[in-house]
Symmetry: C2
Subunit: 93 residues, 2 copies
């Protein structure tokens, strides 16, 4: 396999996953800024749905061999950390 | 870009999307065989979640340039047709 092309798709995949993870963080931040309570079931549902969508993208990328499983887990773990920080900031308001 | 390698990832992507679409059809068939009513909210929720997951995979593949948008739409449309047939068969039982 041509290593250069392999890297192009791999880079694209990682970039897109990071964009999508960041989109979730932004969405949650907007919800918090607009005072939608984290205890609200709708908030939890939106978050669950978005996290599920992202994890499906990651699984897909891993199955295609574009992203290592460990890297995929890292993206989700980082996002969860970010959401926890946001959540903490929000509840301290 | 090396056309051969491009095709490998593209083929893998299409193959994986078809596998995942077929998985949804099978899941729904199992639910119907076990007499879980299509009117049941849980059935609808499972179906919605699975369809959402697949559409996220397709969007991801399209964004990476692995799958053409039209092909992605076709996969979803074919699955919907298949589910409609299953649904019809079930309600005629």
């Amino acid at each position: 396999m041509d290593i250069e092309v392999q890297d192009t798709y791999k880079e694209k995949a990682m970039k897109q996953l990071h964009i999508d993870a960041e989109k979730i963080a932004k969405l949650i931040k907007v919800q918090m800024d607009n005072l939608t309570m984290p205890q609200c079931p709708l908030y939890e549902e939106v978050l669950d749905t978005q996290m599920y969508g992202l994890s499906r993208e990651i699984d897909f990328a891993v199955k295609l061999g574009l992203v290592e499983q460990e890297k995929g887990r890292e993206i989700l773990a980082l996002l969860e950390k970010e959401l926890n920080v946001l959540h903490e900031l929000y509840t301290k308001k």
